[in-house]
């Protein structure tokens, strides 16, 4: 089975500065893939470069066997790639219902939007209760759910999430993760960038670890952090330092 | 590459004028006599200046048809003073230094007269203004080279004050342009009334901005003040708006006084303005041309040539151009001092009445016409003379 979305040998960054080098990843359907790594390791840059928000210097992006390198973000959504940014991820002056409506922007059929809306409210009942509330008045957790719900309205094949747990307290965080799990089960592949390694690995199938713009580890979620050494490497500790211990 | 082409284009754009200067115009067989015309063709008073320019053009056509001056044809060098005295001065300098004119018809506004008058005298250039009415000009030290065809505010307001007194109005409101023309007339009218022992009250004085062009609340103020007479000092284009909005607001049941600025067919372009003027204006003043053949000829020729009736100051600019031509002819040479001396002696019957100048260069005497607006059987509006006043 060929992967639904893959990035091959990507170099990307902003303006004239390259942040990540030679990174290759792939995602299959019915899979949650985690991109892990410390601050400034280039995780967000990676997904931004897939969507055209960051500058792609080299490499290829393949979606469904088609080369979509250098696509603009609005086109990407139409093709089935959803994206939830880390910050500013809702339209704060629109209500919840309007946010979801905007999520379904690529869809022209009113009936289908309605049915998607009901579906989404089924997954996120806490949003259904406050349809008319301004998104700007929501709490961190609700906002994050709305952001994911909005992206799901376009019924993407692949969903890219940038640190969904960053500003969310633990309880809603777990709720969000379980929702992601059910989204995956419905057939959407999820690529998730996160710092909270334990939590995200609990629902992921595979993971990649980025340090300083390069991919240092990859593998299945269960085995990725088995060894003490890989834990240390994640934190930038080199073996010899540990030896001194 | 594209950038280079662009730089070249820009350089050409900038240098074209310089090149133009160096290339001498083709030698005409007889070099024409140049008369400068400095009117405001753009800016707030641009529309009025454009009309006035036609008066000057008409005069030149007639002068040339009559054989020109000094045996040579007359050519107008037109410049735009842009309703900005600084720009006006610049254009006057250009007329004098570059074109070498010795007599300028203009400037149109008092501001430019004050900024350019001194420069004209320094260069022995005569200015004949058709419309700069400010009293301050007479106090300057360069008036020996400055002549005015238009009549001063003080004279006109004396006529107006007589109308107020005769009709026994006691509550007067004023609605004037906030410029030298409007405020000048307002001030001198109030002064003249006081001097004549008027017992009434100046209940409200509105000084409005030309550019605002929306005077509903201003007019409402006048309405609420329960005035029995309103003196409106406007030009044609703002006058239309004042009058039509006055009709809208229902101010046609009290008496209005007009002035030379709102005399003429230009005010009838808007049907409502015309309707209002016919209903409300009891009397307006203007320098009386109209007495005699000169004015009839002017009105006929102007209407024939431009397809519209002359408006305010079209007659004075026409007279100013004629005065310039006559003075050059009388001087016998195209030379500033001689033209000035000839101008001082000048006396002729112009479209705006008899023209001669006093020692200040102001018009020596004036006859004012009192006018009204009437609608004829065909529904056409026109100004009608209701009296003549000699001051």
């Amino acid at each position: 089975m060929s992967p639904i979305l893959s990035a091959k040998n990507i170099d990307a960054g902003y303006n004239d500065v390259i942040v990540i080098r030679d990174i290759s990843i792939e995602i299959n359907t019915r899979e949650i893939v985690a991109i892990l790594g410390p601050n400034g390791s280039g995780k967000s840059t990676l997904i931004k470069s897939i969507l055209g928000f960051a500058k792609l210097f080299d490499g290829k992006v393949i979606y469904h066997g088609k080369d979509i390198t250098g696509i603009t973000s609005d086109r990407a959504v139409h093709m089935g790639i959803g994206y939830v940014p880390q910050i500013n991820n809702v339209f704060s002056n629109l209500t919840i219902a309007e946010n979801l409506d905007m999520g379904a922007y690529p869809c022209k059929d009113k009936k289908s939007i309605k049915s998607r809306m009901t579906e989404t409210y089924d997954i996120f009942p806490e949003l259904a209760a406050r349809k008319k509330a301004l998104a700007g008045n929501l709490s961190g957790g609700e906002r994050q759910m709305l952001a994911i719900a909005r992206a799901m309205m376009a019924q993407p094949k692949v969903l890219l999430l940038d640190e969904p747990l960053a500003s969310v307290s633990p309880k809603p965080g777990s709720a969000i993760l379980s929702k992601l799990n059910s989204i995956k089960d419905k057939g959407t592949a999820i690529l998730i960038v996160e710092q909270n390694v334990q939590k995200v690995l609990s629902i992921s199938n595979r993971g990649y670890v980025l340090v300083n713009g390069a991919c240092v580890m990859s593998g299945s979620a269960d085995s990725l952090f088995d060894e003490e050494s890989s834990r240390q490497r994640f934190l930038g500790l080199e073996e010899k330092v540990l030896d001194n211990n | 590459m594209r950038r280079k082409i662009l730089l070249v284009v820009m350089a050409v754009l900038l240098l074209l004028p310089a090149l133009a200067c160096s290339s001498e115009p083709e030698e005409a067989q007889v070099e024409p006599v140049k008369i400068g015309v400095l009117l405001c063709l753009t800016g707030d008073l641009g529309p009025m200046g454009l009309k006035m320019m036609q008066g000057a053009e008409l005069a030149v056509t007639e002068i040339n048809d009559a054989g020109g001056v000094l045996g040579r044809p007359v050519e107008l060098v037109k410049e735009d003073g842009a309703t900005d005295p600084a720009k006006g001065l610049d254009r006057a300098k250009k007329l004098i230094n570059v074109n070498g004119v010795k007599v300028i018809v203009g400037p149109m506004i008092s501001g430019t007269a004050l900024s350019a008058g001194g420069f004209a005298k320094e260069n022995d250039v005569v200015m004949v203004t058709p419309s700069a009415t400010a009293g301050d000009i007479s106090k300057q030290d360069w008036t020996d080279y400055f002549f005015r065809i238009c009549l001063l505010d003080d004279l006109q307001s004396e006529v107006l004050s007589q109308v107020v007194l005769e009709n026994g109005y006691t509550r007067m409101a004023t609605m004037v342009l906030n410029n030298t023309y409007g405020v000048g007339l307002e001030n001198s009218l109030v002064k003249a009334l006081k001097e004549a022992g008027w017992q009434g009250e100046h209940v409200v004085g509105v000084r409005y901005e030309e550019a605002k062009k929306d005077y509903l609340s201003e007019l409402q103020q006048i309405k609420d003040s329960k005035a029995d007479v309103v003196f409106a000092c406007t030009y044609a284009d703002d006058g239309i708006i004042v009058f039509k909005q006055a009709l809208d607001i229902g101010l046609d049941d009290i008496a209005w006084l007009g002035c030379d600025g709102n005399h003429g067919a230009g005010l009838f372009k808007d049907p409502k303005s015309a309707e209002f003027m016919a209903k409300a204006i009891v009397a307006g003043t203007r320098t009386a041309g109209g007495v005699g053949a000169a004015n009839d000829k002017f009105v006929t020729n102007y209407t024939a040539k431009f397809g519209e009736e002359p408006e305010v100051y079209c007659d004075t600019v026409y007279d100013a151009t004629w005065a310039a031509a006559k003075a050059i002819e009388a001087a016998g040479v195209y030379e500033g001092k001689a033209i000035r001396d000839a101008m001082e002696q000048l006396s002729f019957e112009g479209a705006s009445g008899p023209i001669s100048f006093d020692e200040k260069g102001d018009r020596a005497s004036g006859t004012f016409e009192l006018w009204k607006v009437e609608k004829d059987a065909q529904g056409k509006y026109s100004n009608v003379r209701i009296g003549l006043v000699n001051i």
């Binding site: 410390p38 601050n39 640190e163 710092q195 909270n196 390694v197 334990q198 500790l237 330092v241 | -």
Partner: protein
Amino acid sequence: MPEEALLKIEKVSKHFGGIYAVNNVSLDIHEGGIWSMVGPNGSGKSTLFNTILGLYKPDEGTISFKGERINNMYPYQIYARGLVNSFQTPRIFHSMTILDNMLVAARGHQGDSMWNSLFMRKKWQKQEEKLIDEALNLLEFVELNRMAFSPAAELSGGQRKLLELAKVLMAKPTLLLLDEPAAGINPVLAKKIFRKLNEISRNGTTFLIIEHRLDLLFEFASWTYVLNKGSIIATGKPKDIVNNPVFYQAYLGEE
């Protein structure tokens, strides 16, 4: 007699629209050595830094530097007292030369005042010569001296980071706050930088550094504060901290 802290933070809180970015934090930095602060993304480190520097006003608590309350001062006043920071993403002045970038940062340049610039040119020319020498030395250390007269816009990302560091060293600060000085530059140079910082710290400058590379902290830092969710959850020597389960939890998330 207890030594007075160089920087004393007492019960400082800062929230943005109901979310506490910094929650009741107290800590002391004493003179000398390299102090460090670690914590995952969004733990409030940068907010705390900005609050110390006067870019944010704390909602509660006091901050004092050398015994003087500084939490109502403007950034430039704090800077003038010797408390200096470097930004995580370099904020350099693009159209100016690299050397000019350095000279802007100099503390107490006589020519910074309008009067002196116009009428006392002699007064600061000498000083400027000295400053240029210092700047070139610092640039040599970060290997940018050959580009000293080129516009800063020509620098690459890593070089910008180095310039940002060199710039703040120009101020000869008493306490220098560094936000991830090693992020985005190659490991060898990162180590070299920390060695240099160590050297400088022996001459009287104290450092407070946010850093993720624990190897560097093990080698150079004398004390570490661990921040998570706006609060300090552990303190101690780096090597002790690393064995604290709280630390791992903060980094890898709760189980």
